[in-house]
Symmetry: C2
Subunit: 76 residues, 2 copies
């Protein structure tokens, strides 16, 4: 498998958030993280920790394994 690239994760989260019609403010609130941090993660400028991604996936109505599967399938 290819290398892990947090920019892929960021764009996937960004897309899923928009699909659900959520703002960064709302999603970060649901996930319990700072909005500025979520913005950085979506931009691919920060590499989120596992429990952070776990909570974001939860807030998106997914399991982390499902989120990671999307990331894997999106990884070039």
């Amino acid at each position: 498998m290819k290398q892990y690239d947090c920019r892929v994760t960021g764009s996937v989260i960004h897309r899923l958030r928009l699909e659900r019609g959520l703002t960064q403010e709302v999603l970060s609130g649901l996930a319990g993280i700072a909005r500025s941090h979520l913005a950085m993660i979506e931009a691919g400028a920060k590499d989120a920790a596992v429990d952070t991604l776990w909570r974001i996936a939860d807030a998106l109505g997914l399991r982390l394994s499902e989120l990671m599967r999307i990331v894997e399938d999106s990884t070039v």
Copy 2:
């Protein structure tokens, strides 16, 4: 879903490594991380970053999504 607990991830990695008959030395070498670090992760004393888990899963012959699914199913 329950909260993320790195101790569950650690015990899952530990079990999968033994099932494959790998030593910490070998697995950490395959994953490209320090053995002491892998030991800490297995013990649940350290919370590994995503790309670290990605490489460990790879070295175990799994995708991260598959590893996380096992962790989720093992999470109480």
